[in-house]
């Protein structure tokens, strides 16, 4: 058998030098910036959509049904979540699947650098792009439409990080479940629509009918949307919402790690 003696296996497991992993990150960043379409959907689209909605005059009027808030106030967190979805669920899965399908991961596994370095670089880049896009949406919301910055910044940041984590793990799971780039892109778009709905892109979660809202609350983006909304209006996100996100992230991470195949 080829099962290694655990003692020898750990003794020889010298990680690839940090410089090699930095080189991978540098090269993946360069490639990331060479995808104008991907950058458009992740960085430009969410803020552009929010801006268009913000240009509708009635969306800038306080609405009693929303507790005196304006539609645009609700759309800033929606744009933030849309940025996450575009990055982690729309852009990332076909790239990761392509890396496996084209044998790029396999090629790399014959070098001293593990192919996981490529995956972590891609996940980090998509996470960073999502957060950058979220910051852009908040800035434009503040500057153009006078949307208050989050009243509870720490709670907001926490909700933001948790939703980034859940979207990236979900993207990794999609890649684990699909064998080809085409399948990955197809499944991604379906999952995307569902996630966009639960994040409140079409109807803000706060305006959904009660039954629907109660279901959506248990989805990662329904929970994220409520958590962001609460933190935006100055209170701490509820434990229930954070708990839902943590549980989803844990479950999805477990499944993705179990199901992922390197070839």
């Amino acid at each position: 058998m080829t099962t290694a003696n655990p003692a020898t296996a750990t003794a020889v497991k010298t990680p690839a030098p940090a410089s090699a992993r930095r080189a991978v990150l540098r090269s993946e960043t360069r490639l990331f910036l060479r995808e104008p379409a991907g950058l458009f959907w992740i960085v430009v689209f969410p803020t552009a959509l929010m801006t268009i909605l913000g240009l509708i005059p009635s969306f800038r009027d306080p609405d009693d049904a929303l507790g005196g808030r304006r539609v645009i106030d609700l759309y800033v967190p929606v744009a933030v979540l849309l940025a996450m979805i575009m990055s982690g669920l729309q852009a990332m899965p076909p790239i990761l699947t392509g890396y496996r399908e084209r044998g790029i991961l396999r090629r790399m596994s014959t070098t001293p650098v593990r192919p996981s370095a490529l995956l972590t670089a891609q996940i980090a880049l998509h996470g960073a792009a999502a957060l950058g896009s979220a910051a852009l949406a908040m800035t434009v919301g503040r500057v153009a439409f006078g949307v208050e910055l989050p009243g509870q910044p720490v709670g907001y940041a926490l909700a933001l990080l948790l939703s980034t984590a859940s979207v990236l793990t979900l993207g990794a799971l999609l890649c684990a479940l699909t064998r080809t780039t085409k399948a990955s892109a197809a499944i991604s778009s379906v999952v995307n629509l569902v996630m966009m709905f639960t994040a409140g892109v079409w109807i803000p979660v706060q305006s959904m009918p009660d039954t629907l809202r109660n279901i959506v609350r248990f989805t990662p983006f329904g929970a994220a949307s409520e958590a962001l909304d609460r933190a935006a209006s100055g209170s701490w996100p509820g434990l229930a919402q954070l708990g839902v996100m943590v549980l989803w992230t844990a479950l999805v991470t477990f499944l993705a790690a179990r199901l992922f195949r390197w070839e």
């Binding site: 058998m1 084209r102 396999r106």
Partner: protein, 304 residues
Amino acid sequence: MLVGMAIIEVNGVHKAYAGRTVVDGVSFAVDEGEIFGILGPNGAGKTTTVECVGGLRVPDAGTVRVAGLDPVADHDRVTRLLGAQLQESELQPKLTVAEALELYSAFYPDPADWRELAERLGLHTAYGTRFAKLSGGQKQRLSIALALVGNPRVVVLDELTTGLDPRARRDTWKLIEDVRDSGVTVLLVTHFMEEARQLCDRIAVIDKGKVVALDTPSGLIGRADNSTVISFTPSRPLADSELEQLPGAASVERKDDRIVISGTDETVNAVISLLARHSITAHRLRVSEATLDDAYLDLTEQAA
């Protein structure tokens, strides 16, 4: 040529995919500094065998050692001294040639000068070209360059010259010989006879997952059933019976007035003395040696 100790040892390796045996007890040892060829028909288990050497696959049974290390358990150390060019492995479509070479050279503690390597492989004119835009031959040459960029002690090349034009193929062979002359051991998978004959110091012929022969190229040719073919037009008729009795003669054929005898070196001498005895002149006498193709066909047929 400098031949040292075995640097690659493959011992009784078995590998099955979903119950279908692909490699069935393959054993061979490659000496340091030689070019060792693995030759065989498609689906014979060549690629799986070298993938076990490269640590990409775990054998179901048997052992593999590269410089005394297990390619699976000692994966990190083996990757530092073994460079691999794999079949059907691509790079990121928008990565340029120069970026790929620079990236891969950053993976190794003591890399080769990638610019020099690229120039030797004729890639220096395509530094700024993205992988997706490269021609098949350029992709292949880049793949070879990446296998060599880490200054490996062992290099595994799977279908080295597939997709290369004849000139690029010759240039690549020269490069591989130079690499060997610099002390690197080369494990070469091919189904291209000319390449095996030109480059390899020794060849293992694999068929249906088993090693059916392991020898030098000329040794393999000598093993072909009818390694020598003698043909001539006799000045006077010769009886078939006399020809068939010649030592080593495997077959005698007549094509118009020409006689074609397949046999061995011994047969050649016997034909010459027979002709001398009968004072027959042999017009257009031709003695041709079997090629590696013949040997290969014989060897892989026997196993069938």
